[in-house]
């Protein structure tokens, strides 16, 4: 009830006050002749037109919006990824999604892993792969980033990379703290109508947990005290 009051009556009273005040002022102050008011309003409309032309020709959004068909394609791709992952088939880990590889060195045949996801809220799946082509004392940590779509924008590039390093002969994987992104969206329509009409048709957000693959030689034992593998 309080919200309704503030949303409706405050603007109502505010507008009423301005309309009344200006009505009185226009009668008392003689410089506000109808002719001058018309010139003022026309100038305002012309300014609006110039603003429209400027945005149309010179202002370009650096953030591309994905088309509905493209979102649908990605949705199918993400479903396939989930299916492969559930079947322990790593063929979905392609170059397309590879974001970064860390080439790390350690000593001995055991490598304890410490994973700290903190309050980042990140959801990373960890996979271990024994690789015969890697020489002893070396590990390859590869980060795969899958599409993150929120309201038609691909935010994959905005996801902060984890911090991966070896210290005291331990492999540390630390997720960076949660990142805040603000977007300013220009949509020359009536949001209240679109919100209700499109809610059933447009996927709002979709993402799939990112994957970190640790490639180690067969001779190495990976110590996982946190039970993540």
């Amino acid at each position: 009830m309080t919200t309704t009051f503030f949303l409706f009556f405050i603007p109502l009273l505010f507008i009423a006050a301005i309309v009344l005040l200006l009505g009185k002022l226009s009668k008392k102050i003689k410089i506000w002749t109808p002719k001058r008011i018309i010139i003022g309003i026309t100038s305002y409309i012309v300014l609006g037109l110039i603003a429209f032309l400027y945005i149309s020709f010179f202002s370009e959004s650096k953030i591309p919006l994905l088309s509905f068909s493209k979102i649908k394609q990605l949705e199918i791709k993400l479903d396939q990824i989930q299916k492969y992952d559930q079947e322990d088939d790593s063929s979905y880990l392609t170059e397309e999604y590879k974001k970064k590889t860390w080439d790390l060195k350690y000593e001995g045949n055991t490598l304890p892993v410490v994973i700290n996801e903190g309050d980042s809220g990140s959801s990373i799946n960890f996979r271990v792969r024994y690789n015969d082509n890697i020489e002893s004392g070396k590990a390859l940590v590869t980060y795969y980033q899958f599409p993150v779509i929120v309201e038609g924008i691909d935010l994959s590039d905005e996801v902060p990379l984890p911090n991966v390093y070896v210290a005291q002969n331990q492999l540390f994987i630390e997720a960076l703290s949660k990142q805040q992104i603000n977007y300013y969206r220009i949509n020359a329509t009536l949001g209240i109508l679109d919100m209700n009409r499109e809610i059933e048709h447009k996927p709002y957000a979709m993402f799939y947990s990112n994957v970190i693959v640790i490639d180690i030689p067969r001779s190495t034992v990976l110590e996982d005290s946190q039970g993540l593998f």
Binding site: I15, V19, P34, G48, I55, E151, Y183
Partner: protein, 242 residues
């Protein structure tokens, strides 16, 4: 109405419309000022915002749509129309030959004309605000839809017109016969109680789900109904002119 020459209602109304449109022009300037103020107040947040948390990302969208500007324009139309029926404005009617009926008809035309200009002012405000955002937040700007579709423009016009019609009707009712005054007061009171006590009981979704043009037709139909009632009540209260 007493006059030495026989002037038709059409001529009187045309004269009054011209006279009133010029006299009340400050109403449009107040709309510009109100929209500038609200444009500045909502500059950072837009008409609304939405947020989403995906993994390690917190995404916040400030949406710049026509909603807020339309609401402001509709409230403005309601207040201006209501003020048209006040005593101060009725005194202005004495400057030209008028009757209650001709004055009501002229008010209706002025409201329609002003609604049209209000839509143009609304568009100007929207693009000026969009330009401000485009310049201030270049890197975070997402242009979803820059062009206002004709159906949205018609819908905006019909919405403003409807609120203007309601304001005019309400103002005229309170100058009309006591029976209608009491009846409408009770109706408004019950309506307000219903809205505030159980907002969920009013379901606007079936209307929202209609196409823009259908909503516009519906709004214009209600507006015409309000205008007709305004003329009827004004005609009835002709004899009780003070």
């Amino acid at each position: 109405m007493q006059s030495l020459t026989n002037i038709s209602l059409k001529t009187i109304v045309i004269k009054q419309v011209k006279w009133k449109a010029k006299l009340y022009i400050s109403a449009l300037s107040s709309l510009v000022i109100v929209q500038i103020i609200f444009g500045i107040l909502t500059f950072g947040s837009g008409s609304g915002s939405s947020g989403s948390g995906q993994g390690s990302l917190n995404v916040q969208f400030s949406n710049y749509s026509l909603d807020m500007i339309l609401i402001i324009s509709a409230i403005w139309a309601f207040i201006v129309a209501l003020l048209f029926t006040t005593k101060a404005h009725r005194i202005d009617d004495l400057s030209v030959i008028s009757s209650r009926t001709s004055s009501a008809i002229a008010n209706i035309f002025v409201i329609i004309i002003y609604s049209f200009f209000a839509v143009i002012i609304m568009i100007s405000t929207y693009y000026l605000q969009a330009l401000g955002i485009a310049l201030a937040e270049k890197n975070s700007l997402v242009i979803d839809n820059l062009f206002i579709s004709p159906s949205i423009l018609i819908l905006c016009f019909s919405s403003i017109c409807l609120f203007g019609a309601m304001g005019l009707l309400l103002g005229t009712i309170f100058k009309g016969p006591a029976v209608i005054k009491i009846f409408v007061s009770m109706f408004i009171l019950l309506g307000l109680i219903l809205i505030f006590m159980s907002p969920g009981s009013i379901n606007l979704l079936p209307i929202i789900m209609l196409s823009n043009l259908m909503i516009s037709v519906l709004y214009l139909f209600v507006a015409v109904l309000c205008f007709s009632l305004t003329i009827r009540i004004a005609d009835k209260s002709e004899v009780s002119r003070k």
